[in-house]
Amino acid sequence: MNDDLYQANIIDHYQHPRHYGHLENPDIVYHDVNPNCGDEITIELKIEDDVIREASFTGHGCSISQASASMMMEEIQGKPLAELRGWGKEEILDLLGVKIGPVRMKCALLPLKTLKAGVWGPSNWDGEDADDM
């Protein structure tokens, strides 16, 4: 993994987020914030037969939270929910491809937390979180 947080692909996703915006008639809309630093993510999902047909997000915050959302969005289009249910810290860090320290872990994981809470309810985020590492 790369030690330097600010890789070109992270900055690219931050400056040109993929699947950014709103869906027509989404089945799920879910919003969450990181109270420490004010990062915000709202995800919108269209779901058919337990598969994500379309996903998008809006939000603002630091490059790590927004790039993580953008990369996750690319990855989850067309994925069965059953597969996503098992996702945790590892999957997101693989996408980002950089080493994330404890301070920024919450930024990196906010999009996944928002996704899981939106689909399965807030209690389904079992905190693969900076606190529990």
Partner: protein, 419 residues
């Protein structure tokens, strides 16, 4: 420029001073630490660390309760520190200094003790849009409990208090005007003496939040004629866990206790108690003894290196140089007034770079700044900025460190805009 810089550094003997602070010689990510987060907390000189060590090594005991030698010595040192604090801000008497945990607790003490006893429905508490949350939230809670109304003096887009609006907001309904003597976000130094006069003219009391001012400039409570002054030791070379509230003696005599228990009583019966003399009436339980002694040592240190007048002058030159240098950074927007009206801190936003990202890049270069809303969301809201980075200087910062800051910010710009 560089000649002027060395003149500056010589004046205060900064190179020498830096050796008093062990942490300033450490490295971060393999490069020398550049500590520009002094508005959050300052570093501690050996003199303070040693004074606290010495207390624990030689005279650790409780204060005000023992007949034995150790307790006598501890009490004497603990009370000597109080007198140093009183003289430092030119209080009339040591009895006007109450030890607290920090500026926040000092303001809470006034809000809960004076506020609950004196505020009624229809009364108004006036604060300003440039306050730290410590001088906002206690008043929100007390206003809710008493039925009083909380009002705000607006700030202008340049980061000054809107003094035209102040006259309409200070009325005979105003019972308390609480404001900062130096904004921790904008750096603004308001005209304290004049604001206190205006408060008194309508019969209100004036509380000054001195958390930044007392650490960075000369403060004279008799010249200001303020009724209360709140400040923290940790921002002025002292330890965490200790702060002070200055209050005029007469007010302290009239105010009910805040916290209660041991030490603050004169006599206790089954159904009631009477209070100890001020300031002890407001100091319940075993206090932060080593920290109080460390606070005293910090004041000795500040005076030894040249005093607050010299420190303030040095910081004003540093901030002027910093604001000039920061103009070299593309897409950087500074908030707050020009250097002559501010303390030694500067908050800024970078085009297209979130403050946390900028702070993380600076950290890679060993530079510590604060990112966020700095516990002052209302001032950011007013200026239409979500968050900023803040570089805050102290007397041990060198002009060269400004150059490093500028270079590191330029590196951030390159990473984000020319990847």
């Amino acid at each position: 420029m560089s000649e002027k810089r060395s003149e500056l550094v010589k004046q205060l003997n900064v190179e020498e001073i830096r050796r008093d602070f062990p942490v300033l010689s450490r490295k971060v990510h393999g490069v020398p630490l550049i500590y520009l987060d002094n508005a959050a907390t300052s570093q501690k000189p050996m003199a303070v660390i040693e004074a606290m060590n010495l207390f624990y090594q030689r005279e650790n005991s409780n204060v005000h309760r023992g007949i034995h030698t150790l307790s006598e010595e501890a009490t004497a040192d603990y009370e000597a520190a109080r007198k140093k604090i009183a003289r430092f801000i030119n209080a009339k008497s040591w009895r006007e200094i109450i030890y607290t945990r920090n500026a926040t607790e000092s303001i809470n003490l006034v809000a809960y003790s004076w506020g609950l006893a004196n505020l009624h429905p229809g009364d108004e508490v006036l604060i300003t849009e440039m306050e730290h949350h410590a001088n906002i939230v206690p008043w929100q809670l007390i206003a809710e409990r008493t039925g009083a109304t909380l009002r705000y003096v607006p700030i202008t887009l340049q980061g000054y208090l809107d003094l035209d609006k102040l006259n309409g907001l200070l009325t005979e309904k105003t019972k308390m005007f609480a404001f900062t003597a130096m904004s921790n976000v904008l750096g603004t130094i308001p005209p304290v003496k004049m604001l206190v006069e205006k408060a008194h003219a309508v019969g209100a009391l004036a509380l000054v939040d001195g958390a930044q001012a007392v650490s960075h400039m000369p403060v004279d409570v008799q010249a200001w004629n303020c009724d209360f002054l709140a400040f923290s030791a940790h921002k002025m070379c002292g330890p965490t866990g200790i702060g002070a509230l200055y209050a005029k003696r007469q007010l302290l005599e009239e105010m009910p206790p805040f916290l209660s228990g041991g030490d603050m009583i004169r006599s206790v019966w089954m159904d009631h108690a009477t209070w100890n003399d001020v300031p002890h009436k407001f100091e319940a339980g075993t206090p932060a003894i080593a920290e109080a002694i460390g606070f005293g040592a910090a004041i000795d240190y500040l005076q030894k290196i040249g005093g607050m007048e010299a420190i303030h002058r040095y910081e004003q030159e540093i901030i002027a140089a910093a604001m000039t240098a920061l103009q070299e950074v593309e897409g950087l927007r500074m908030i707050g007034p020009p250097p002559e009206d501010r303390g030694g801190l500067i908050s800024f936003a970078l085009d297209g770079i979130h403050p946390h990202d900028a702070a993380a890049i600076l950290d890679q270069d060993g530079i510590a700044v604060r990112a966020g809303h700095h516990c002052a969301q209302p001032s950011h809201d007013r200026l239409g900025i979500e968050a900023t980075d803040r570089a805050s200087f102290y007397f041990y910062n060198l002009p060269e460190e400004i150059d490093m800051l500028v270079r590191s910010l330029q590196r951030a710009q390159a990473i984000f805009h020319h990847p």
